[in-house]
Amino acid sequence: MNGLTMKRNYKEMFKTPEMLTLIGFFVLCIIFSVVSEEFLSLTNVSNIIRQVSINGILAVGMTFVILTGGIDLSVGSVMALTGTIMAGMMINVGLPPFAAVLVGIILGAVIGYINGAFTAYARIPAIIVTLAMMEIARGAALLYTGGYPLSGLPASYSFIGQGYLFGVIPMPAVIMIIVFVVAYIILNHLPLGRYIYAIGGNEEAVRLSGIKVKRIKASVYLISGITAGIAGAIMSSRLSSGQPMAGEGYELDAIAAVVLGGTSIAGGRGHIFGTLLGALLLGVLSNGLNLLGVSPYVQRVLKGAIIIGAIYYSSIRQKD
């Protein structure tokens, strides 16, 4: 009996959505490395990770939010706003990079908290609050910069987005990995993480357990604001400027990474490393299609079809 249960668990593990994304990911990698010889080269792999990092970081915050059953559509705009503010702090105010980044991340946290407060305390649907915030943050970024990108960043600042650790690992990738590890600890080894999962599972029950549900719901948006701020730093450093129009549509990519990674859009279930996989899968997809020289229009069709096909294939496997 016990042996049977064990076997089932093992088999079931193989059928978790993350696992399926993992399979999809490897299948894609194998295909691409067969048809394109550059694909598995060291520089290309480091390219992919670097390309994935911004979406990956945004997707971490999004995972927290989605686990509670919420959504954050403002991440792209908040990233742009924090990025331009960081640039402005360095260029116009003369703050050193470190301080400027801090200001930007704090701003991201504050905006996130505002999202959270309206969602959790005022009980306005997250989708409305963050859609409104998406417009507000975008407008603020445009107002702050007058529409022009802010350029003239100190040379040292480029390290965050363009530098390498030990000369090989791109800094954005390093930052992304740190963010994932911190998220992993929060979600799996701290009570906060438990509560986040629990709220997505049955909010009323969590409330009955005497946990301050509203505070936790607010906090996930705050976390998402922080990750948007971190992404803003990488973005502004990579682009050597504060771009008020950066990040349009990134919210959908981040959501795609989270859901591809197996997190239930209704909340309560999911895994942060699934999100990493989801982001990598999306990154490999566009990188591979680019390397194969597929036409941009066809790429869009293929990208959509491959995502849907991969998930469909996984879901069939899941059934049998």
Binding site: R50, R238, L239, S240, Q243, M245, N287, N290
Partner: protein
């Protein structure tokens, strides 16, 4: 239909080859590919590249400079020799230009300037484009009237056009800019925004749009309203030319020459590739005002 999209080189045997004996590879990264302007640019690019037997790779940044950087990283990975970049943003593209340069790729920007170690830049005189349209408007209005600006996505060329236009208008104290709204260079958006502008300013005389897509949206709104509001713009879009010739509200547009920009750009890049040490840093391409008198027969 003609997709105007990439094809992986025609592989002509006696084509241009690089040092290692491989075929010459040219990458071109567009800021967008949903506008006849860039599509004709791409056509000219493909033709020119084919005539030297080069393989081409193209990418569409969809207005996202981060995507553009990623696309260019991937091109470098594929071993391009020449990069023609049509930057989604001048500052933002810097990392890509740098990376390409570091990889020994010749980089030429077209249509919009890019920061970083460029080999050359070929672009329209955007300030002039706005200025010429403004002059024509002022002239048509007889130096008197109320006008509005239909702005677009805030990137340097667009901002320069607006600046040029404003400067032209400021030379005519009788003309007042009463409204600035953003049509996002999108026909549908521009149409709604124009409808509202016409409503808000019942005595409006003319509108300057930063590009023809926006102007064509405005045209729909103006025609529907039955008002006599004149439209001026920048680009030389085939539909705009048609509208100007039909003697409607669309009075003039300052034409750009996308095919020539890319031809000149590619030419400079090839010169560099063949060993030229001195090439011009910047080649401004003239723009040409099109109105009812001279628009006949114009095409990109």
């Amino acid at each position: 239909s003609d997709s105007g999209a990439s094809n992986n080189g025609e592989g002509s045997e006696d084509g241009e080859t690089n040092a290692s004996g491989k075929q010459l590879k040219i990458g071109m990264s567009f800021q967008e590919m949903n506008n006849p302007y860039f599509i004709s640019m791409n056509e000219a690019f493909q033709e020119a590249a084919k005539s030297v037997g080069a393989e081409t790779i193209i990418a569409d940044a969809q207005h996202d400079v981060t995507k553009q950087i990623n696309d260019i990283d991937d091109m470098i990975q594929q071993g391009i020799d020449i990069l023609i970049i049509n930057p989604a943003d001048s500052e933002g593209a810097q990392a890509a230009v740098q990376a390409a340069h570091d990889a020994g790729v010749i980089v030429v920007a077209v249509d919009a300037q890019a920061e970083g170690p460029l080999d050359s830049f070929v672009g329209s005189k955007n300030y002039d484009a706005g200025y010429l349209a403004g002059q024509q408007m002022a002239e048509d209005l007889g130096g008197e009237g109320k006008v509005a600006i239909l702005d677009g996505i805030p990137v340097v060329p667009i901002l320069e056009r607006v600046e040029g236009f404003k400067d032209a208008i400021s030379e005519h104290p009788g003309i007042e800019i009463v409204d600035i709204q953003n049509g996002r260079q999108d026909r549908a958006e521009a149409m709604s925004v124009t409808e509202n502008m016409l409503q808000a300013n019942s005595d409006l005389d003319a509108i300057f749009s930063v590009n023809d897509e926006g102007a064509l949206g405005s045209l729909g709104a103006v025609e529907a309203s039955g008002k006599d509001v004149w439209i001026y713009s920048v680009d030389g879009h085939p539909e705009a030319v048609e509208a100007i010739l039909s003697d409607g509200p669309f009075k003039a547009t300052t034409a750009q020459f996308p095919r020539d920009q890319v031809r000149v750009g590619l030419g400079i890049a090839l010169a560099k590739y063949w060993g030229a040490e001195i090439v011009p840093d910047e080649i401004p391409i003239d723009v040409k005002l099109l109105n009812k008198e001279n628009a006949e027969g114009f095409t990109w």
